[in-house]
């Protein structure tokens, strides 16, 4: 699944049109504890989080994730969006809850992170 397909699937607003939407998404994940995500994140991941500060982008970029998904219409702070554009990370904002986002991703066949990763 590409980031563009992901956008359509979760009715998202693309907050970083500069980032490549043809990037392949490898798996889905949701967690708001950044240090947990650092330990369990994976490349190509679509990560759902309510956190919106700069460190979210740092984590996503270091883990080479495909996209950060912000649920429930939460606004990401402008400096974080700027950083995301610099790093080429897609930030997607959607009115859906984290639960609904994950349910749709799973239904579309996107796996969770492999347990070995």
């Amino acid at each position: 699944m590409t980031v563009q397909k992901l956008i359509d699937l979760i009715e998202a607003k693309d907050m970083t049109p500069e980032a490549d939407k043809g990037t392949e998404v490898s798996c889905g994940y949701t967690c708001d504890l950044l240090s947990w995500v650092m330990a369990h994140g994976a490349a190509g991941m679509a990560w759902v989080t309510v956190q919106t500060h700069m460190n979210v982008i740092a984590v996503a970029s270091l883990m080479e994730m495909a996209a950060v998904i912000i649920p429930e219409g939460i606004e990401m702070e402008a400096p974080s969006l700027e950083k995301a554009k610099e790093e080429g990370i897609s930030v997607l904002q959607t009115p859906l809850t984290a639960y609904e986002i994950c349910a749709r991703l799973a239904k579309a066949g996107l796996p969770g992170k492999s347990r070995e990763a």
């Binding site: 950044l34 240090s35 650092m38 700069m54 982008i57």
Partner: protein
Amino acid sequence: MANLLEKSFPVEAGAYTTAGEASTTIKRTLKQLGINAEVLRHVSVACYEVELNLVIHSLGGTLTLLVDPEKVTLISKDVGPGIPDIDKAMTEGFSTASAEARTLGFGAGMGLPNMKRNATEFDIQSEVGVGTTITMSFALT
């Protein structure tokens, strides 16, 4: 062995907004050197964790990157406050992070164990009132 590269980055205590900048620069530098993706990922994770520890827990410090033909080495050296019980600090789930750090999603008590897991060799030396030095190396071959 002669170092191909040596670079130091000052890390300020409590500078949450710029946390991760040193790690991002280090990752970019290593990528340019053509370090393999798997090693790069391990270095990036450990580097970000140690940089965050400097921001969250230390009174300020320096992150140094060394590259030689056999390994990448990261050295984090701070000026205090020092860790009273290293065994406890190394325990997964144990954290002394502030309420501010926790609000940002840090303080899961995963930092030090995560560094150890990602590094080929991990060493931590600490003295209360003096400071903490963490040395991690990542084999390239």
